[in-house]
């Protein structure tokens, strides 16, 4: 009940004309970056973040989260109309979305996607509303060893549940931590790993890394695959929207199952992409029309979309309450929180309830707004994709580099963005996961500080990570996740 009261307060923060205006702008910008190849939620948010440095944190987070919702919706639009996933997390939507659109039922396909996405997002926010008070009270019991254990758990779940090759995930995490360590050490003040280069004293910004890895890297990949736009007529027929709406309740089982998968994968950092694939797989397995999957089965659109969005929203819970982002985009926002001078973690609920609950309230409003806006603007954004790549490609490149420069007004960052772009391309091609690298860059310093403070508390004894039931449970869970891929391999070989 106390959460409900806090939520109402949050609505009074979020429901101002200024904030509503920011939501509209954010959602529209988000749809734009979601639709454009190469730009997605993580780097869209990274590009916008430097422009929010001077805004107040509540307005800034509303703008950025609205952009996130918009990007998730925009990614589905291109999946369905052009068979090009605008976001990695909407790849699974192409499997049935594009075939259904090809049959001349594009409006229905889009409506299924947006409505189920809206449903998934709402489930995610409701879960956040219900759990945040509890998670926060739980997290207030934490001191350094527990925090380190939770960070450790987050990275182990990437290794265990991320689906990428184990050793490659570990390399990716390690690189992220190493990059985070470059520059001024927050504890001792020494300048680490700069190798005498003045450019490295300020460190390597995770925003530049995101812009390069996701933005430029993704563009190079698009080029290599050859961009074929076989677009489908993008007219939205109102009658078809209502027909899809009327059909939605029939898919309740898929909706509920997918939302739960999404919430779970969002809170444990599995991320929206893994959630959408897992949910698609489950929907296919439980469906009576299994053979119709891949030919335009509505369940095949509803499942990944619901999971994608509920994971996207649920990822905000660990970000706010524990300071651990559940997705790459949430990691960027977490970095934003720190730049705005906020301290993510349980104390945030105590110190800045207006911020936390204003954000949660804006998630309800923003997602409803996004469903309406995205349906209304489909023809507009679809026409953007018809601009030839010789124009739109270089324009996106320019936006990425300008974004990299605005992060810290450092010319060196242009080279870094290029380097990260090439790295991002190779990473993608060789299936090295990128999200763990970003996560490690963002929370690297915090994880390291927690580790060092724990060891100072225990005078160097590692036993502190096993010193009470809470931290022991967290560590055991983490080790179990770390060992999971090996165990699963052994079990499979037995069978």
């Amino acid at each position: 009940m106390e959460n409900l009261g806090a939520l109402l307060q949050g609505f009074s923060v979020a429901l101002t004309p200024y904030h509503l205006g920011l939501m509209v702008v954010g959602v529209l910008l988000g749809i734009l970056v979601g639709v454009l190849p190469g730009l997605g939620a993580p780097n869209g948010v990274s590009l916008l973040l430097p422009l929010t440095f001077t805004m107040n944190p509540v307005a800034a987070i509303i703008l950025l989260t609205s952009m996130y919702w918009g990007a998730l919706f925009g990614g589905s639009t291109t999946s369905i109309l052009f068979n090009i996933p605008g976001e990695p997390s909407s790849v699974a939507t192409t499997f049935d979305g594009y075939p259904l659109a090809q049959k001349g039922r594009a409006t229905e396909a889009l409506s299924f996607a947006f409505l189920s996405a809206g449903f998934g997002a709402l489930v995610g926010v409701v879960i956040i509303t219900l759990l945040s008070g509890w998670v926060q009270r739980f997290a207030l019991k934490f001191s350094s060893p527990e925090f380190f254990a939770v960070y450790f758990l987050a990275f182990c779940s990437f290794v265990g549940l991320g689906g990428a090759p184990v050793m490659k995930t570990i390399v990716s995490i390690g690189i992220g931590f190493a990059l985070a360590a470059i520059g001024m050490d927050s504890v001792s003040g020494s300048l680490r790993l700069t190798f005498g280069l003045d450019e490295l004293i300020a460190g390597v910004s995770f925003l530049v890394a995101v812009i390069g890895l996701f933005g430029i890297g993704e563009l190079i990949l698009t080029i290599e695959e050859g961009l074929h736009l076989k677009g489908i007529e993008a007219k939205v027929r109102v009658r078809d929207v209502f027909r899809a709406m009327a059909e939605m309740p029939r898919h309740w089982a898929t909706l509920v199952r997918s939302a739960l998968v999404g919430v779970w994968m969002g809170i444990t950092p599995g991320g929206p992409t893994a959630a959408s694939f897992m949910s698609y797989g489950l929907a296919k397995r439980f469906s009576r029309f299994r053979s119709a999957f891949g030919t335009g089965e509505p369940d095949g659109i509803i499942a990944p979309e619901t999971a994608d969005h509920s994971a996207g929203t649920a990822a905000m819970l660990p970000m706010l309450a524990l300071g651990i982002p559940g997705s790459a985009t949430a990691a960027v926002m977490l970095g934003g929180l720190m730049i705005w001078g906020l301290n993510p973690g349980p104390m945030l609920f105590v110190e800045r309830p207006d911020f936390v609950w204003g954000l949660i309230a804006s998630m309800y409003l923003g997602n409803v707004l996004a469903v309406v806006l995205v349906l209304a603007t489909v023809p507009l954004f679809a026409s953007i994709l018809r601009i030839p790549f010789a124009i739109i490609g270089p324009a996106i490149v320019v936006v990425c580099f300008i974004g990299a420069y605005t992060v810290g007004s450092r010319p060196f960052d242009l080279w870094l963005a290029l380097l990260f772009g090439v790295l991002g391309y190779v990473f993608k091609k060789l299936s090295y996961p990128i999200a763990p690298l970003i996560l490690a860059m963002v929370i690297g310093d915090k994880a390291e500080d927690a580790f060092r403070q724990s060891l100072i508390m225990s005078k160097g004894s590692m036993a502190i990570f096993w010193s009470n039931p809470l931290v022991t449970t967290l560590m055991l869970l983490a080790i179990a996740l770390l060992a999971w891929p090996m165990l699963a391999g052994l079990l499979r070989r037995r069978a």
Partner: protein
């Protein structure tokens, strides 16, 4: 053409060298225990070691030949289209550092549109002048964010 196997080995080498560099760089700050807790180099040192070990694991997987039959990492045709895209960017970055981001943007857009898109010159001029102008109005006027400028802006007194 580059095979998947050589690409995997190449990448494992790059990450291993990076990890080694990190571990080596960390030793400068001490990697042991001091009266005030773990020395600053400790954490990066072990991270560097973890990267090296995991890279060796990746190299071993590639060498074990489990990747036989995989599609090549990149074909000649793909490499050509990537080069067409990346080479202009390689020119754009130094240009931006010398001439500023606005002028470099105009030159880069015009260049790509005329030589690769085969657009008429007036068409390319329209876009390549319009984009920097729009960016200028949005960033410098709208958000008071200053971009890297060069001699042209200085001459114009911007």
């Amino acid at each position: 053409m580059i095979s998947r196997r050589s690409a995997e080995l190449g990448m494992a080498t790059v990450t291993a060298v990076f990890g080694g560099l990190v571990a080596y760089g960390a030793t400068e700050f001490g990697v042991g225990w001091s009266p005030s807790g773990p020395e600053p180099g400790t954490f990066p040192f072990y991270m560097g070691c973890v990267i090296v070990l995991a890279s060796l694991g990746n190299a071993a997987t590639a060498l074990a030949g489990r990747l036989r039959g995989e599609a090549p990492f990149i074909t000649a045709g793909q490499a050509r289209s990537i080069a067409r895209f990346v080479l202009p960017i390689l020119a754009f970055v130094p240009l931006a550092l010398v001439l500023g981001l606005y002028l470099a943007t105009a030159l880069y857009m015009a260049g790509v549109m005329i030589w690769q898109g085969r657009y008429p010159v007036w068409h390319a001029l329209l876009v390549s002048l319009g984009l920097p102008l729009a960016l200028y109005l949005l960033l410098e006027r709208g958000f008071q964010v200053n971009l890297l400028k060069g001699p042209l802006e200085a001459a114009l007194g911007l």
